[in-house]
Structure formats: C-alpha cells, structure tokens
Symmetry: C2
C-alpha cells in the first residue's frame, strides 16, 4: 500500500513521508495539503459511485414498473440484467436464468394498446383472442415494404410448399407392431364397436400429405369394397380385412389433386441478417420491438418465410409448432441437445404473420377454436363437419382475420411456464388459411424460436456466439432451410 | 468537516493538527498514523457501501425475475419502490404512479403453482378459470381457524343479509319521464312487437329485492289480467294498460317468501386491524401474501364478512362490484372524491372467499359464464332457463366450486388497465351461491378495495394516513358498514 500512496501523492511529500514513517513520533498533521487532496479524491469518487448506483437502481426500477415499455433487455439470454459496475463475466456462468421473457398482456378481446415500433409513429395493437394470445397491428408494414418483400421473394424463386406425394412414410402401426384389434380399439372413440367416419378422421385426417374428407373416405370404402354391409360404418371384421396400407395405395392409384393436399401454396425463405435488404432488417427490428423479446433470440430465429397462394390455394388448420415433452428436441437447438431424442419440433414460440396484399376473395386466417371454453380434439369433427377443413368450414371458425395489405397479426404458440420462460404448447393456437376464392394471396411469416428447455437455449446461444467465424450471418440461419414444412 | 474529523480521529492528533493547520509549511507526512486511519476508515466505508448497493441491486433484480415470488412491496401506494439509502420523502409527491399492482398469471385452467403463505408450509394454488381469473387454495385456513371465525361471528351476531321488502324504491321510468312506448321498445330485444317472458326478465329480474322467475311472471300476468289474449306475450296494447308500479303492488299483496329474495342468508363483519383476534390478523396477512398486493391496500379494505346460509339458503348470481365509468365513485374513497358523482360502487378489485365448513348438500359457488367465449347478457336467459337463478340452474353453470372446510378461492372482479393498475369490470366474474340442500353453509369474504382512479386512491390513502388519530383502526374501517349489500 505504501508504494501506491507514494505514486498517488501529487504533493512531492514522498521523501519526508518515507523518512518520517520509520520514526515512532512526533504526531503529524492531518490538515496537510496531501492529506486533504487524497481524502477529497476518495470522497468525490465515493459520492460519484453512490450517485451512479442510485441512478441505476432508479432507472432499472422505473423500467420494471412500466410494463408495456420499450424492450429493456436486448442482449440475449446470457446478457440479461447486467450490472454496470461489474464487467460482464466471460461466460463463466451463463446457464443460470437471469432473464424473464416478457409476455404481452391481452387484457380482454378488443382491448387496444399503443405501441412504438418506428420512430415518429404510433401503431395500435388490438387483442383478437386470449386463447391463443393473439393481436393484430394494422399498417405494420408500408405498401412500399410489402411490394419489396414480394419482389425479393420472386427474385429468389418460390418452391412448392408441399410435394404432391411424399414417399417412404412408413405406417406407425407397422413399426410399433400393434394388432388390428388394438388399432380398432384406439380409433373407436365412443367404444360402440363400430368406426364412424369422424372417428377415423380424428385420428388420421392426413394420409401421405393428403387431407381426407368424409366423402373421400366413402369413396375409398367403395373402391376397396371395405364397407360390405354398406352402412357407412366399419365393424371390426370389416376393419380386419383392410391391409395396413390399403388406404394409401388406393389414394395413389386414384391420382391426387393439389386441392386435396394439406397445403396448396408456394414459398421461399429470405435471410434478415447483415447484408440483407434494409427492408428485411427493418422488419426484424420491428418484430423485436413488437414482441419485446431480446434481440439475440430474434436474430437466431428462422429467416422470413414468404408464401404465395394462387386462386384455390389453402392451408388446412395446423399448429406452427408441436407439443414439447422432456424427450422432445427443438430443431434450432439440436446442436446443443443430446444426440438421441425421439421427437423433434420447431419450437416456434411466436408466429408473426404479415399480409403483403389485400386478397380479392377469401384467404382469411381462421382460428377454429380461439377462446373456446375447452379444447377437445374429438369435437373438432362433429356431425361430419370438420372444423380443421379450411376449404369447407372456415365460416364455422370462432375467429377469422381478413388479409389486409400491411397488417400484421401475431400470437404465442406456447403458454408461459409461470416462471418467465416458455411453457406448454397452447392447443388453441390451431389455425389455417381459408381457400382463396379470387385473386392471389401473399403473406410472410416470422417465427421466433425459443427452446422451452432454458439450459439448451442458453447452451445453443453460447455455441453460436463463440464460433470463430462470427460474422457469417447467413450460415447461422441457413440450417433452418431443412425444417420440416408441416 | 473539521469537527467531524476531530471527533472521529482516535489517535489523539487533534491538538497538533489544528496547530499545524494554521502554519504555511513545512510539508507534512502522508504516512502518519492519523492519515492512515482516516483513509482506511473512508476506504472501508466506501467498500461496504458499494457491496451493500451491489447486493441490493442483485437482490431486487432477482426478485423481479422470479415472478411468482414473495410480496416485494408491502408499503402501499405512496411508498412503492423505496430506495434503502434515501429516506422516504414525507409524501411530497405521492400522486405520481410509482407502483404497479401485481396480477397473478393463471397460465391455463388446471395449472398449479406453489405459494408460500405461512412459514414452513407450501400451499398449492390451482387455476380454475381465466375469465374471471380465478384460483383455489385448499387448506388455506386450518380447522381451528375456521372454528374460531365462526364463533367470533356468532358472538358478534349475524343480521339478515336482505330485508324482506325494501320500500321507497321509485320507478326509474317515472323519474326519467319515459313513455310506455319507449319502455316497451327498450324491453323488446328482438323487436318483434311482443314482449316474451325472458325479455322482461333480462331487464328487470329483480323487483324490490324479489327475484322473478318466468312462473312468477305468469302468476303476475294472471293476477293482474295483463295478458288478455293468454298467449304468454305482452303486446304494446297490453303493456300500456299496466301501470308503472302494478308489478310491485301485486307482489307485495301476495306476500314474499325468503326463497324469493335475491339472497337468503345472514352475515356480520369482523374487523381485522390492531387489537382484533390474532386469527383475523393472520388471515389478513395471508391474504396480503396470496394476492401480492401492498399491505396498505389490504389494511384499508373492508372488514372480513362472515355469512351463514341455512338449509334452503342461496344467493342468485351477481357481481361483487359494478362497472366503473368516469362519473362512478368508489364507496371507500368517497372522502377523496368530488362530491357530485351520480354512480357509486364498492370497487372490490379482488374477492377472497373462504369456506369455513364442508356443506352436507348443495351450496356450491357457481360461475355461470366462466371462460365463455363471449359474454352476452341477453343469452343468460334462453328458452326460459335463467342461468343466474342459483336455486334452479346451478347445474348449467360453466363452473361450480364445492365448499370444503379451509379452502379459499379468489378472483379478480376487474381486468388490468394494461399499465399496472385496475381497469374495466370483468363481466365474467358473475357468480352466486347455489341453494343449500342439506345442512348449513358458513363462508367468509375478504374484499380488497382499490379505486380504478389511481389519483383518488392515492389521495384517499394520504388522507387516512395523515389523520391525527392514527391509532384508531376501528374507525378507519367502520365506514364500510354502510355498504350497499347488493
């Protein structure tokens, strides 16, 4: 300590102090200039530090209070709640939860709140439903921005969203070695010993990417002579005579029309990282502000998907992301997960859907069970009315959003876990694109991928942020190209 | 400053320092014992202060993160977010909003979260509905506590919750000078020129505290010979012939049974402030922890209401607190409000309902429209089934809570305003007590009163906290005795 004192002392008292320091007395003055300077320096540093800390406490408290405020933490999982005085530790303990994902409060259906997304403009955000938590923001994108996104997508080229027939899908029953009696029992919801049309459709509405209607099923019965007594029901005997892949083989022989597929559209992906068109980067920034999520989470999510539906196009009701069990991996964090996970889903916490044009007829986004009191998969087909069929029953959906150029809607595909992170799947987030009856429909989707397993998300962020080629934005996101499309 | 230095200096250097301080030179040592001690004291004080502040920052951030944490602010409206270093300003600017009311996240129906209400015990809180936001907590009170509350209520004595006939209620139509044609038009919901029974009941289910059923109405028609063509409908001509108070006069002539009233129970109020029985104070503390609201708000709310339903007792569906318009005053903040407010309601933000015994038969708490997709007052009576009638149609309610000794349920009667304060009334909070078919039913109610007008609530708290007779807890709460009972 003596060395430091000597170096700090600006009064030139070094010689005398070292000399006198060795002597037992006499007692020296505490009113010397050197004493005064040192004390004053300490005193000022102390006061400044206290003021800075008080300001920090006040500032961070104030932000916490204003719930629907600007995004307060845009530094990602490991950087949340940084202390201004202590330098950020170089990822020594990044796996502890020091961040809470904000979740916007819907209050009630019809509630309108103002949001600040672009400088000098205020947008209105209206709550459309609470289950799922769903909002609409008119004028989220300008006409010019919509035009540019559509042009960029056309320049890149759009591909079929669903191939006409997907081969190689093995029957699950074959793999699991279940007997026809057991399958019959599983399908027979009301346990009356007969399979009604809707009982078959509830469990296997989609075969090889083909969407089955009650009429399709009756055609298949007739073609295969499956329903021998012609009562429209399958008994166990009739069911036993059908081979496991009879349905599939019949459908493929018949030939499949585009309108029979689960989705009938073309799409492409547009990257939004460094070097991307400014409009694409602006949209990403605006999505970050809208969702109030850390920028890192939005940056590391899937690219922008642009979709074009021609006249007659549709997308039957589906979930953008599946349920998450302990053994389920997320596509985006796979490289941080254990190798052997039997299930995988895209872990799209939020869907932001942009309407790039106003559609001449049809093309609404339908939420069949929005704000239903209960969710019951079985009651989705009743009296042979399939609520998930967006070519026929959009008018029976609880909620339909009209496509209007520049409008954005967004919703949460997962609930909160009650501790500030992603929880269970929200089954009410079921939605589809109604058939386009006139003109073309252009939309874009921005998904925000978050792993419900915080540890995996944190490890993933750590992995991608510490890669040597840190600039390479394209490569970071291009792994999403191999996402399953369904 | 010199005085303080002298007092703090333990080295006895005072005399020499003051003496030498007056001399221009020679330069004195900075290695003297006195210098060293003073600097070290400053240095340690500085280090300790920084550590304390860092701990505070860390602690408060941590609490903010853990959403369902312990109540972090129990100091009331004007004392929210106190800084530990700066003394609480003596209510210089108490009307600025520096507090945000916590609102518990229901996540989804069936979600269970652990709550810490009493030391050494963890309670489970289950979400029963999201509209209204409703929870149940089994074992909230011990058997012993339930017994004591019932005994205290009996010692104090219970009074009729509703007098048999309330006089002096003038017809609103008379005051407002509306013609019979206009009233007819208002009542005729489907505008078919006829008044169906349910159209009359939707608008005036209660007359002079008497609950009308479709059968009552038909008896009145018969008694008054109102429905001359006997088709069960009132035409404009038939309606015109009825005088404005014909219904009332007929009902009073007939004589009224207790079961015909809106509510059929007896109740009393138990104060929970200083000097009250320890069990009552404990319950108040537990409610503060449960709701995570500032203790001041709970302290300044209504006393505990204890209610006893005999066999045959009931309470038809109602809202504990009404809608709030700009011209609506709250009963509890009246002394802080403008004198002339046309409407008044009790502003019960939260209802906590305690079951003090397990009922032998019936007596459930029914929420007829909990989690309904939409709220439609008109559809509450359909096909002559009145969902608000808890003597007849409890089985048709969306949700029923069984009375179990010690269990508490609580719900929010108002939505959030999206900015951390009380917002609009939650219409879905409609509830009632089903008829007790066997035995007696004992419940207690704790209401937490908050004015949706923050300024009025703050002024009110300021007024009551600055009263000269600050100890007088009884008087503070006794103004609630004059609350309207309906």
């Amino acid at each position: 300590m003596t060395d430091k004192q000597e170096a700090d002392d600006p009064t030139g008292a070094t010689a005398s102090s070292t000399r006198l320091g060795r002597l037992p007395g006499p007692k020296t003055s505490v009113c010397s200039r050197s004493y005064f300077v040192v004390v004053m320096v300490f005193f000022h540093v102390y006061i400044i530090n206290v003021i800075v800390l008080l300001l920090y406490v006040h500032y961070s408290s104030g932000q916490e209070d204003a719930r629907p405020g600007p995004p307060r933490d845009t530094s990602g999982v490991s950087g949340g709640k940084q202390n201004p005085l202590s330098p950020r530790p170089p990822s020594k303990a990044p796996l502890t939860r020091d961040i809470s994902l904000p979740r916007i409060d819907g209050i009630r259906v019809g509630h309108v709140q103002k949001v600040s997304l672009v400088p000098g403009k205020v947008h209105e955000m209206r709550t459309l439903s609470l289950k799922p938590l769903l909002f609409e923001i008119p004028g989220f994108m300008s006409e010019e921005e919509c035009r540019i996104v559509m042009q960029l997508a056309q320049l890149k080229g759009l591909m079929e969203s669903q191939l006409m027939v997907q081969d190689g899908q093995e029957e699950l029953a074959k793999e699991l070695n279940i007997s026809p009696e057991e399958i019959f029992n599983l399908l027979d919801i009301n346990q009356d010993g007969q399979l009604q049309l809707h009982e078959i459709l509830t469990h296997s509405r989609v075969r090889d990417g083909i969407w089955l209607t009650p009429e399709n099923l009756q055609e298949i019965y007739a073609g295969l002579n499956a329903d021998k007594d012609g009562n429209g029901l399958l008994s166990l005997e009739e069911f036993r005579l059908l081979s496991a892949d009879a349905f599939q083989r019949f459908l493929l022989q018949q030939g499949v029309k585009r309108s029979q597929l689960v989705r009938n559209s073309r799409h492409t992906w547009l990257y939004q990282g460094k070097g991307a068109h400014q409009v694409l980067q602006d949209i990403k920034t605006r999505v970050t502000r809208l969702t109030r999520l850390p920028a890192t989470l939005v940056d590391l999510s899937e690219p922008l998907q642009v979709v074009r539906y021609e006249e007659g196009g549709h997308y039957h009701a589906h979930h953008d992301s599946g349920p998450v069990y302990p053994e389920t991996a997320c596509t985006h964090t796979r490289l941080a997960a254990n190798a052997s996970t039997p299930f995988e889903t895209s872990c799209r916490y939020i869907t932001v859907l942009f309407y790039l044009n106003s559609v001449d007829g049809g093309g609404e986004t339908a939420f069949p069970v929005a704000d239903n009191r209960t969710f019951d998969e079985v009651s989705l087909i009743q009296n042979d009315v399939d609520l998930m069929d967006t070519r026929r029953n959009c008018d029976k959906s609880n909620l339909r959003v009209k496509p209007t150029k520049g409008k954005a809607v967004f919703w949460y595909n997962y609930l909160s876990d009650g501790k500030g992170w992603v929880g269970e799947q929200d089954e009410y987030a079921l939605h589809g694109g109604c058939v386009v009856t006139r003109g073309t429909k252009w939309v874009a989707n921005k998904w925000i991928n978050i792993d419900p397993d915080f540890q995996r998300q944190a490890r993933y962020e750590q992995l991608v942020s510490h890669r040597p080629e840190d600039e390479d934005d394209e490569e970071l996101t291009s792994n999403f190209d191999i996402h399953q499309e369904l």
